[in-house]
Subunit: 267 residues, 2 copies
């Protein structure tokens, strides 16, 4: 039952952007993609866990995810909570047990980075802020939205890229450049999702749309108005490209392709 | 809010048996206790997380823990879910970032062991089985109870001892002996708790008692009858002592003291 629930969300057809970024970052710094595969899988497990817990009745109360009933709808709430827990620890177990060809000190560091991107300063922090929006107006609202986006959405994308760079034995400068790249496209991804939530139908997206607006959730479209979205998204693409300027343009092509893929969804 | 919720359960006055065991195991194999302190803290964080999630309305639905309202009663269900998640990843982050004086390869191994003791083959597996007891009778019930105890309760105690032995640079044989010791006293601890749940009042224990019986939960007292409890508990103390026979008796005294402390609660 628990394994079935873990697999249900893990293999439910996401776009695998985080693992792709992790492996691409590893290759960009000259590493062999094999060394980043366990980290890439770990990031996807953490992502799946965050979806399961976010969809819970006590958090976002979502019935539909990627066109399918959410985990707690299929397996019950208690299994959904525990399957999320199990996926979270499996991520760390997998990185610790399956990473090959990387100095153990780098594995330890990567595990610390993954944990940081998820915890009370990362993804979870964003989710906590997202659940309880209090009265907001003007700049306060924007700051809050930025906090939520930065933590809830960008942290794990940033983590994926950083993990790849660490596993690929990137230099400190390479790791920090890629961290900035990851943060930019993580933010960009969330902005794009917010916009699609407003502008597309649930059939097209395979999830309940307009829900964030109805649920009084904080989104950029709401705080800034839809008309500013393109400006911000394009500024982030530029920042992302800037962060990659250090690298050979040809080698950086796969990462640039991912950032173009994200922003193209709203073009 | 999230940090407050994390601290609330973490510092709510448990007996710290797991960290004590972790550090004692480290010292028993000749290690410096400092090397095991981050692992010991990590185990306590995982334990706190398991309490928070176990108490949730969709799992055990407990209002009282250690004489205080449970996490979701104080902070709300959504914060309780997320505080548990944050504690879980903080455990791995802390081990990765704060362990000093231990070869990184051992840190990686210890992280893998901790994850294994929590995940779908450990604590979480036990909790999943515990929530949905189906029709049971005779041996089937006993097997199921053993599975639950072994996973839900013994796994993390075993993990604590194993982590200490790894951090203390114990040999393979020492690690495996201590694993057996940890498993025995982990099982013993759960049996003792089950018995106290039946025989003591909630005022004495600071939690809702008799609840496991009422909630149709599987316990040794229920499946075996209370009269067999002492036999099993004492057998486990003997097995635990046997597992320590390899070590110098004087050095093993702290671990033996913990096992005596546990069994003495029902004497």
């Amino acid at each position: 039952m628990i394994h079935e629930a873990m697999r249900y969300t893990l293999v439910s057809g996401g776009k695998r952007i985080r693992p792709v970024l992790c492996i691409a970052a590893c290759e960009l710094v000259g590493g062999n993609e094999d060394t980043a595969v366990p980290a890439a899988s770990a990031v996807e497990m953490v992502h799946a866990m965050s979806l399961i817990h976010d969809d819970l009745p006590c958090i976002d109360n979502d019935d539909l995810r990627r066109g399918k009933p959410t985990s707690h709808k299929v397996f019950g709430e208690h299994v959904a909570v525990l399957a999320g827990d199990a996926l979270l620890v499996r991520a760390f177990e997998h990185m610790a047990a399956s990473t090959k060809g990387v100095p153990p000190m780098r594995v330890v560091r990567a595990i610390g980075e993954l944990a940081k991107s998820v915890g009370a300063e990362g993804l979870v922090a964003g989710q906590v802020m997202d659940v309880k929006p209090e009265g907001l107006s003007g700049d306060v609202g924007l700051e809050r939205v930025e906090f939520i986006h930065l933590h809830k959405s960008a942290a794990l994308v940033e983590g994926a890229v950083v993990l790849g760079a660490i596993m690929g034995s990137g230099s400190e400068e390479e790791v920090e450049r890629l961290r900035m790249f990851g943060r930019c496209i993580g933010l960009m991804g969330q902005i794009v999702d917010d916009i699609l939530d407003v502008t597309k139908s649930s059939v097209e997206l395979g999830k309940t749309t307009g829900k964030d607006m109805v649920a009084d959730k904080l989104t950029y479209p709401k705080v800034l108005g839809l008309h500013k979205y393109m400006e911000i998204a394009h500024k982030l693409v530029e920042d992302a490209k800037e962060a990659l300027a250090l690298f050979d343009a040809q080698k950086a092509a796969p990462l640039l392709a991912v950032s173009n893929y994200i922003v193209d969804k709203i073009n």
